[in-house]
Every structure is written in C-alpha cells, then in structure tokens.
Amino acid sequence: MKYNVLIGGAAGLGIDTISILVEKILKRKGFFIYSNKDYMSRVRGGHNFIQVRFGTEPIYSHWPELDVIIALDKETVEFHAERLCAAGVIICDESLKIEYSRTVKAPLAQMAAEVKNPRALGSAAAGALLKIFGQNLELVKEVFIEKFERETAESNYHAFQLGYEYAPKYFEISAANKDSHILINGNAAIAMGALAGGVSFYASYPMTPATSIMTQLSMRQDDTGIVVEQVEDEISAINMALGASYAGVRAMTGTSGGGFALMVEALSLQGAMELPLVVVNSQRPGPSTGIATRTEQSDLDFVLTAGHGEFPRMVLAVRNPEDAFYQTARALNIADQYQVLVIILTDQYLADAAQTIEPFDYSRISIDRYFAEAKDIQGERYKRYMPTESGVSPRIIPGKIAGAVVLSDSHEHNEYGHISESAEIRTAMMNKRMKKLELLAQEIQEPEYFGVEKPDMLLLGWGSMQGPMREAVELLMQEGKPVGALVFGDLYPLPTKLLKKYAGTAKKLINIEQNFTGQLAKLIRQETGIFMNDSILNYNGRQLDSYTICSRLKKEVL
C-alpha cells in the first residue's frame, strides 16, 4: 500500500520544513519513503512543490496521482488538483478560497498564532496530515526535538498537535516493520560515498544541482580533517584537484553541465598526466543555463568525448542513492588503480530525491591507493611514465622518497615526464595510455535487469531512469506484458554482455531517456551496431514517472 502527498507553495513559505517533518516521522514509524522536489530557480515566490510517497513496500520513484495536497497557497491547488485521486484530500489554511469538496480548511495560521510562532504553520499542516493518515503520536515529538532548537521545538510540536487534533481521519495505513532504514537523497549519498572512499580534497564552485554535494562534505570537513574548498571558478576547481591528486591525496570535484564545460581542458590534462581524478556532473536541462533547478540526462554524449585529443576514461551514471554511495567509493578506487579519469553522472532528479534504503554497509568499502614504494622504483632516476605491460606506471608521492622526484607534464613526454616530440615515443605513450581502456573494460559492471526471462519488449535506460523504469516494468508485468528493462550504470566502456543477450531475442528495443537525441541509443549503436526500434524521450525538465512511461509506450509504441 502506497500513498502520495504533495506539499506546494511559493519559495520561502517553508514547504521544505513540512516535508522533512513528514518524511522523518513516517520513516520512524517504519514506512518506506520516496520524495522528490520540483522547484524554481528563485529564493522567494514562484511555485515549488515536493512530493512525498510513502507506503508499506519499497518505493523506487515518484508517482503522478495524489492522495493528499498540502497547499500553502492557491496556485498549488490550481496546478495540482487535477492529479488528486477520487478519494483525495486537500489540506490548507482556512483563508484560501478553494472549491474542492474534500478540503480540510484548518485554521493553520491561527494555530501558529496560538503557539506564538508564525513560522509553525507548516508544523500544524504536518499534524493534520498525520491525522488524515490515521497515525498515532508515537515517535513524533523526538523528531521535533532533533530538528528544532529547544524553544521552537516546543511551539512547533504544539502547532503540530493542534493540526492533528483538528483534522479528521481519511485513510487507514500502518507500517509492518520497525524503522531500520536511512533516508537519503542522491547528492548526500555521493558525499557519503566520497567520505567512505577516503576523499581528502574536494574543490568546487557552487552550481545547482551539484552544490549540495559540496555542502554535505563541507559541513563535515572539520570532523573528518578533509579540505573542501570553494574556488573562484570551475577551471580552478579541477586544476586544483589535479594538483592535490599529484601530491597524493584523493581528490574530487563536482559541478553541473556548464561548469563541467569549463573543466574540459583539464580533463585532457588528466589524460596527459595520468593523475587519478573523479568528476561528478549533476545534469540539468541545457543548452547553456537552461533550467537551473530541473532535470535532464543530456550530457552523456558530451562527457564521453569531452577533452581534446584522446585518452582513456570511465563514465558511469548513478541510479539511486544506494548506488550513488557504492559507486562513488568504487570510482575513487578505479581512478587510483588505473590513474584515470572517472566521470560520475547524476542529475537534479536524483540529486534531490530522497529514498529509504538499507543502511550503507561500510565493510563493503575499501580504500585502495596503489602507490609504489621506494623499493619498487627501478634504476636511479624515477620514471613517472615507465612503460609497463598494463600501461599503468608505478606512482609515488612527491616528497616522500629522498632522491626521487616526480615530473608530470601536459606535453607528450618520455618515461621521465620530460617533453618529447619523438614520433616513436609519442606512439609508445599513446599506446601505453590507451591500453588502459582494456583494463577498464574488465572492471565494467553489466546493467541491472528487471523483467521476464525472455522479454519481447526490451526497455533500455540509464542512471536516474532506474526507479521509474523498474516500476514501469512491474506495472507492465502485472498486465502480463512480456517486458524487461536494462538500466545502465556503467556506460563507458559500454558493457555489452546482457545487452547482446536480451537484444538478441527481443522483438522491440526501446530506449527511454530524459533527452532529445537518445544518447544511450547512440552510444549503443556506435559500440555494438544495435539499433533501437523506438524511443520514449522526454526533455521538459521533469522526470518521467512509471505511469507516463506505460501510457506513452501504449500510445506511441505498442
């Protein structure tokens, strides 16, 4: 059983606070949660909303039909009332002129006034909501105490109680289990993965929807002894990270497409210097500034070949908060092991979508640095780019071994790192570097598969489409459709085993992507010659949900 609540209003009215309260309380009561955000690029005004889905089974994505709307303003009702299901309820302040019959017009402002805290209006609304879903008050007060300062906790909890008392009960749902989950969004999970993976240096410039990765790290820098540096521009961010990587620490940077574009020259520097580096691109709709606070998957083909000249790289997309955690830690290891660039793709949808998941298993994470030691360095002069069978040269930390100096160079260079224009050395160095692509191909993880054993219709997607596609497959299977979905995490080198297996027998291949040109389909064509038969593409800045996927499949494809 699942319910879906929308909390809407202008920026600055406090929908965030309501959703945090509601999510935390429902989580503590043992429900599964999935919440996602839809907000405008402004600080006050406009129209923002958060959708909180909760229920007794795991939830992987958002959903269009609403059971309850908490409307902090009239627009919220105007924009979303049509999505209310038949039994749906609206909660709002009594002052709003709303016609809809099943509306709980509570004196929310008055309740806030009663507790002498005008900002506690949202807590009153949260109280009404909890009552509507027939929840008791167990575990609630604790959440207020955690979230607010002492005095405001009192007044907010009081307002909550008033709202709770006022509202009728509409729905019946109770959680079967005790809460054992964490509730975390994609960006926080990346930050947690980076911390677990031993990142020591994160240089970045604020850019939505990547900023919160930096914030999550920054708030813990004291505690961990890492350095999080906000720099003057993205060019500095990546070059500074490369400098730190050269000096031997795990370094990382993150940004969105426009900032990533500014990093492109230095991606290629990574290629020449063979310094481990992890770069996160949290995508939003382009081109250019586009829509700053919305979602898209349109940077895949860009990041696959970003950078002048040729050098190996790995590109992966994270699919949900759990994946984001483990993959970030994995990326740091791969970058170190092969001295390569690893690009992590995420997007605004995932960045801001919070999900209840199993607690991270830290024993699954290791920090593998692959440094050479004094005894491993052959000969008298250290060869930073020593030819080896694998293409990976022994790397040391500058300053740690007396007598050994480390020379890294952006030009073509010989094994010592010295500039060289020799045709032979050039060819050898290109071969050495590009050979790592073979090693990376061995590291590659196959896409996740959901569906029947032999699907007639194979859906293909990547990254944040995982949740919606997983749910869509479930819905279609319930209708008896012979369907399956491959959702790629690792994208380059492209894993092709499962792809070839399922594509070999499926009658229809359909890529589902949040972009215009079908970038995954293009990559698959390029790497395998496999063509899609059809595609579901969406590029309006909002994530497709499983419902829409199913109905578009039926309308456009089936």
Partner: protein
C-alpha cells in the same frame, strides 16, 4: 648550503641563446641550495610558455600543467602536502593573461606558495604577440598597428588585492634575484616576484639594455615596505623615470593554513589516517 648542482639535469634546454631565462634558472637553484632544500622537497609548477618550461630544466618535482593554470594546482598540492615547497615559474602571459583570475583569487586565499613570473612583456613561445604587460602602441608580430590595450602593473595589482609579499627583480642582476627568491620562499603566504626578463627574439623594445638603464634598487633605509599606499605608489613607477627593484610590499598576515586550523596543527593532509568505517557515524544524520 647545498651544492646547487644537485638541481642540474642533463636534458637539452630549448630557450634561445641569450634569453633572459638563462639567468633565472641558476638563480633559482642557488636560492634553493642556500635554503638547504633537497630536490624532492620542492615542486616547480608552471603553465605553458617559454618560462613555463622551467620544471623540465631542474632536478626537482615538477608539474608542467596548462597555459594560465599554474596557480590552482600549486595551491592544491600545497594544501595536500604542506611539507612541500611549492614554487610557480611561469610567464607574464600565463600569469596575468590567461591566468589572471587565479592570481587574483590565489592571493585572496593566501596559501603559502611562491609565484615567480618571468616577465618579458611578450608572448615568447607563440612568437611575439602582445602580453598584458606589453606597452600601449608597441608593434608586435600580431599587433601590426600597435598594441591597443593598456599594460597592467602586476605589482600594483598584487598590492591592491592585498598580497603580503610583492617584489620585483631583474634577470640581469642575479645576486639580487637570489636574495629576493630566498626571502619570498621563506615568506609565509602568497609571494609574488615579477622578474624582468629580456626576450631577445620578440621584444625589441624592452631589451636587456632598456631594463639595465632603468632599474634601480629600492633604498631599504628610507622606504617602508609595510605601507600599502606607499607600495602602490612605488608600484606605479615605471619606464624612463626608473623601475624600482626589491620587495615593494611586505605584510605578515594569516595564511590559509592559519584559517583552516586543523591543517596547521595536524599532519599534512596526505598523511591523514582514514578508514571507510570512520565515515559510518555520519549515517546517523540520515536515520
């Protein structure tokens, strides 16, 4: 004092015979040797250009990065390992042109690095175009009718941002250059030295003789280099009225390390001890 020859490498140097860079290289080796710094304790960082080839001509750690981007990696590696002596050697185009923004914000950040600019007032490696320090009206291989932008005074700029160590030297006066280098390397914070360096191939105006005839050393007894406004005024002196050499401005101020106190007090970041399990406690924030 160490033997400066420990910094020598055998690889061929590709600068033009007679280039001013030839005096800067041994000065650097001399300064490092006098400071008793071993090659593995030092990193020479550069962008791209003739000056920026310096890391290749030294037996020391080297990072020869991107044009205009010497400052960011230099800061990154110093933050990562505070035990390294990080010294940038790059050109005027690199430092003030393509890399202008990093200079500005590098000074603000005040990481403890030394930035030595080989200022030949021209783009040498790309064959003679105007740089940010080329005189207004000067004809070049690109500006056929004369340069149309005002030159900057790098020192006035640095003083205006509050750089705590701002100096000028001349590649033709090695002894003085070595002294300034030593002082800059010892200074705690961002130290900028603008070194006048004749480019015999492309700058036919600012020749060795042109500089020689104009440079003079600041009189330490009468000049107070802790006065920022006086330093600004001094930094504006240029051309036929004389070009001052020396430390124009010096001010002790809190560095990046002072401001991120656990870096100052603890071990170098590269020596941080950390296990995945150490991060587990942050999961509490998501319960």
């Amino acid at each position: 004092m160490l033997d400066p020859r420990i910094y020598d490498v055998k690889d061929e140097i590709s600068w033009c015979p007679g280039c001013g860079n030839y005096n800067i290289l041994p000065s650097l080796k001399q300064a490092l040797a006098e400071l008793e710094l071993q090659p593995h304790q030092v990193v020479i960082v550069s962008g791209i250009g003739q000056a920026a080839k310096t890391p290749h001509y030294m037996n020391a750690n080297g990072f020869n990065g991107l044009h205009g981007r010497a400052v960011p990696p230099a800061q990154g590696m110093k933050i990562a390992n505070k035990n390294l002596k990080v010294i940038i050697h790059s050109g005027d185009g690199d430092s003030y042109g393509e890399g202008g923004n990093h200079l500005l914000h590098g000074i603000r950040r005040n990481v403890d690095i030394t930035h030595i600019v080989h200022n030949n007032q021209i783009y040498g490696l790309t064959k003679g175009q105007a740089s940010p320090t080329t005189a207004l009206g000067q004809k070049t291989t690109m500006q056929f009718d004369g340069n149309t932008s005002d030159p900057i005074s790098p020192l006035a700029l640095a003083v205006s941002i509050g750089c705590g160590f701002v100096a000028r030297a001349f590649s033709g006066d090695k002894e003085h250059l070595v002294e300034i280098m030593k002082e800059a390397i010892n200074y705690k914070g961002y130290a900028l030295i603008d070194v006048l360096q004749p480019c015999i191939a492309f700058n036919k105006v600012n020749t060795f003789k042109w500089y020689k005839d104009r440079v003079y050393k600041i009189d330490d007894t009468s000049y107070d280099n802790s006065d920022r406004v006086a330093a600004f005024q001094k930094a504006l002196e240029w051309g036929d009225n004389g070009i001052p050499l020396g430390v124009l401005y010096r001010q002790e101020k809190s560095t990046y390390f002072d401001r991120v106190s656990y870096l100052e007090e603890g071990p170098a970041l590269v020596d941080r001890i950390w296990q995945p399990k150490d991060a587990e406690r942050f999961m509490e924030d998501f319960r």
